[in-house]
Structures are given as C-alpha cells and as structure tokens.
C-alpha cells in the first residue's frame, strides 16, 4: 500500500476474477467466434441467403457445391441462412435488452431513490403492466402493425424492462441506506447528480449480470414468436424461424434442424456461463 501507482478499481478486480473463470472465458471465446462468423457471413459463402439452388433442393451438407450445411426445402443455402438468422437473433437480443436496460435502470433508480409517493406510483405502473398477458400483447401488436422487425425489438424490450426496473429499484433502496449517499447529499450534490454519480455506477454490477441473462431470454422469446409464425418475415430469418422450419422436416432433412438448433443452444449456453461468471466475479462476498 505504498507508492503512487494508481489503484485497482472494483471493476479491474472483477475482470481479473472473471478472466480466471475457465467456463466464462471459454464461453466468451466461443461467443466471439459466433459473432465473428455471423458478421462475416456474406464473405464466407458464394451463396446468397435468398438465392434458390434449383438443382439441389433439400440436400444434406455437400462441400462440393459449397453448401456446407446443406439446403432447405426450397433450395436455399443453410449455412448462410443460419449465420444470417444468427445476426437477427443476436441483434434482437442485444437491441431489446438495451431498450429494457435504458428504461428499466432509469425507472428503477428514480423510483428507488426518490421513494415515497413517486415510488409507489411508479411501481404500481410496473405491477399493472406485469399483469398484462405479455404474449397476447405482442401478438396483438404484430397483428395490428404487421410483422416489422423494429417493432419486434421494441415490443420485447418494452416487456423486459419491468424485471429490470424491479431489480434496480431493490438495489437502489439498499444503496440509498449506505452512508456514502448521505455523504453526497451533505456534500451538496443535487439529486440527479447523486443518481448519476453514485447510484447508477454502483448498480452496474447487478445490471451487467442481469443483461447477460436477459439476452438469451430475449433470443428465446423471439424464437418462440418465430415458431408461432409471428417473428421475422421471409425471406429474412432468425434461429427461431429456422428451428421451426427444421422441426417440420426432422425426419426427411434432420440437418436443417441440427445446425440452427446447435448454434442457438451454444449461444444460449455461452451467455449463461458468462452471466454466472460475472456474478461470481462481482460478488463481494469473497473479498
């Protein structure tokens, strides 16, 4: 504890612990590879995602024709479609989670910090929204406004923020009792400054864990909607839509289920391992 070197922040400590967690690091590497593949999809195959190979309908993986994962019933390349579906699924996961993050953290932190009547009203709003049958709500939106992918992001995000708001509010209530918040009031900070400088940064750990667990949840919801035929629209696709298509041909063309389903499962596992690792790394119990 001597010398003038800058100290280790709690974040740096957490990163060090996270990097020592083998499961989490492996998951991060695999996830990075998946993201890379998904981003580079158009350059990895000569086929377009909506291009129909009339000669090869529903064939198993065939390196000769560069259909690495085979083709679907109408002759579209499954490799490209799986990666493209991954783009959509991951994008839905990330964007919807960001939407829920923005609304949930603000809502929860404000309600928790201000407390009293404001808190009561804000949390009753959350309770009421909770009580709405969410699938029904999304289905209604889709039916009324058509199958718009942007709308899908917003709809899922707008549902997910409720959990986030509750978690953040609980944490804020606990933080508010801490003396450093009182010290900030005594130091003359305004309420927005206290929420911005003290409450939110101290929430980020919990929020980060929750985000890594929300992304796979959102991906699953999107898959479910696609499974119901309410997700992305043809010729665009997502992992959920692909799994749905594949499931219908499980006997004749098992590869059309196997590849997208494996990608989906591996991605979900990765997020969960990262979430667990983050939680352990940020957990202050072992310090």
């Amino acid at each position: 504890m001597t010398g003038g070197a800058p100290g280790r922040s709690l974040w740096q400590d957490a990163r060090r612990r996270l990097l020592r967690n083998r499961a989490a690091v492996t998951a991060m590497v695999i996830l990075a590879i998946i993201i890379l593949l998904v981003t580079a999809a158009p350059w990895l195959s000569p086929w377009q995602f909506d291009q129909i190979d009339w000669d090869r309908l529903s064939i198993p993986p065939d390196p000769a024709s560069r259909h690495w994962f085979g083709t679907d019933a109408v002759g579209r390349d499954l490799f490209v479609r799986t990666l493209l579906g991954g783009r959509v699924s991951l994008l839905v996961g990330v964007v919807a989670t960001l939407v829920s993050l923005a609304i949930g953290v603000t809502w929860g932190a404000v309600a928790g910090y201000l407390g009293g009547r404001v808190d009561a009203v804000m949390m009753r709003v959350v309770d009421i929204l909770y009580a709405m049958p969410f699938m029904f709500f999304v289905i209604l939106l889709m039916v009324f406004f058509g199958r718009d992918i942007l709308l899908l992001f917003v709809a899922i995000g707008a549902i997910n923020w409720l959990d986030m708001a509750r978690i953040v509010r609980g944490q804020t209530l606990a933080l508010k009792q801490r003396e450093f918040v009182e010290a900030a009031v005594a130091s003359g900070l305004t309420t927005p400054a206290i929420i911005g400088r003290h409450i939110v940064p101290n929430l980020l750990g919990v929020v980060a864990v929750y985000v890594t667990l929300t992304i796979p949840q959102v991906i699953l919801v999107e898959s479910f909607l696609s499974f119901l035929g309410l997700g992305v629209q043809e010729p665009f696709t997502s992992w959920g839509a692909l799994v749905n298509d594949g499931a219908q041909e499980i006997e004749s063309a098992p590869w059309s289920l196997l590849f997208p389903a494996s990608f989906l499962a591996v991605t979900l596992f990765c997020f969960n391992f990262i979430g667990d690792g983050l939680r352990d790394a940020l957990d202050p119990r072992d310090r």
Binding site: G7, L10, R178, E179, A183, A184, G188, A193
Partner: protein, 337 residues
Amino acid sequence: MSAATQPSERTESLLQVRDLEVHFTLPGDGWLARRRVVRAVDGVCFNLRAGRTLGVVGESGCGKSTLARALLGLVPATGGSIRLAGEEITGRTAAALRPLRRKVQMVFQDPFASLDPRMTLGQIIAEPLRALNPELDAAERRRRVRHLMERVGLAAGWIDRYPHEFSGGQCQRIGIARALACGPELLVCDEPVSALDVSVQAQIVNLLMELQRELGLALLFIAHDLAVVRQVSHEVMVMYLGRQAELAPAELLYRSPRHPYTRALLDSVPLPDPERERARQAVPLAGDPPSPLSPPAGCAFHTRCPRAQARCRQSRPALHPLEEGRQLACHFPLPVQ
C-alpha cells in the same frame, strides 16, 4: 477563520439549537392503520462556539444520530430552530440549503460504507469542491485534494487509489479529508471512531483534536463511548429517548453528574482495571431502554430510575439551567459532589 482557541465569552455562537424536534411518521400496518409517530429528537437546546467541542452521548435510540442528520439538513426538523452562523437551517429546500453546506460537514461512523467504492480517493475528496466550489478548475481541485490528503496523514501519491485498498483508520482519514474540503466551520462527527480498532481510535481522535486547534473548527462529537467523549469535549450533552437529560461542561459532568441517568451511564462503563472492576457493587440500571415508539409518560427515564417518584410518572421535567452552565431535566436531581 483565525485561531479561535480561546473565544471570548461575547462571541456569538456558531451553532444555536432551540427546542429542536425531529418527529418521524411511520407508515402504519396496512392502509387504514393509525400512523405512529416517533419522536426521535424531542426538545434539544444547546449552543456551540467556534473552536469548541460538544460531546453527545446516549444509548441506541436516544436520537443522537438523528440530531446529527438534522443539523446537516439530511432529515427535516419538525419543530424548533437551528441557526448556523446566524442563518436559520430548518424549513429550507435542498437548493436553499446548498450555500450553507460549505459551513457544516459530517464525518460518518462506518469508514467503508461512507466512501463510494467505485471512486478514487481523489474523486471522493474532491466531490464537495465540485458541487460547492464549481469555480475551481480540475487542476486546482487536484492540488487542494493533495494538500488535504497530506493534512490528514495520507500520502498524496494515493490519490488515484480506491478505498477498498485501505484499512478502516485510513478510510476514516479519507472521510475527514472530504469533510474538510470546503473549509467548514462546524464538523458533525457521528460515532467517528466506534467502528475502528482500539489501537487506531486514538489516532483519529488525536487527528480531530489537532485539526480543531489548527482550523478553529467547532465539533459536534457523537459517541456511545463515554471515555472518548470526555477526551475530546468541552461540554457534554446526555440524551435519553430523544430528550436532553443533562448538559454541562465536561469536567463538571464527569465529576458530579446530577441526572440519575448520567450517573448510571458513568457507572456502567467497564474499566480496564481488574481491582476496580471486581469491586463494583450492584449493576447501576436494570432493564433495557424502552422503545422510542412508545416512550413512557412523564419523565422518559422513570421506568428505570432508582429515584423515581409519583411526580416523575406524571409530568415531564423541563430543561432548566443550574450552576456553572449546567442544564438539567430532572425533578429530583442528585446533589452536587
């Protein structure tokens, strides 16, 4: 603020507290239940001059921490008045309080919990400067922070480190540096050493006394440790269930307490001396302090007081001045020793 070690009797008090009341309304059980009122602070009066220390002692639930928070405007006063350097604090909005914040700062009990774990020492100590002296630029702020750190016994090279890398005693020094950043005239210390190890307590007590001498600070020193309070205080106030039992110059109070509760407190402190400890007679007080939710009628202390009589159960004793600047609220005070 020149050296104020010996303020003349005529100087006006820096802090004047009159009949201060802080009552909380607790939410009842359920919607229609009757709301309960806790009289956390109930009629406290004192003056505090620059360069002096008022010690506040009492057991848990006596309202001493609420008193501290009321002085900083962290909880609203529900009655009475607090005048700081002639200006009324009570009834102000947060914005109207801000200019006064430069004059009064607080040192907290828990040295770790009172520092934001995500901030560096430099950010923590600079926070009051940032909020209350916005005219300073970053370089000037940093210069001042380094100076403050050295003043409280921290190496200036630690400015970019984080609180979790330091011990309790060092964290308390960080808290003190933050409290001093804006050059306050009054420092409210809420149990500043009770969370620290015995061998470190003395360092912090000495530091606070040194700073007081040097800067002419007025200190309000809250603690449950009567020996520490005697060490730092010029005057001492004893509180019981939100009420002021006795207030007197420290030497007088410890030599000749006149409230039976003060006597009992003093007699309860275990002494680091095997012979005296073993020769101790009966336990001074039976039972626990009553809940502040339902304080006894009359004198709040009558349920545990060895001298209580019928009158104590019926009427609440008023605070009245006695000899040598003593204030007392008791119907049947102990004789002067």
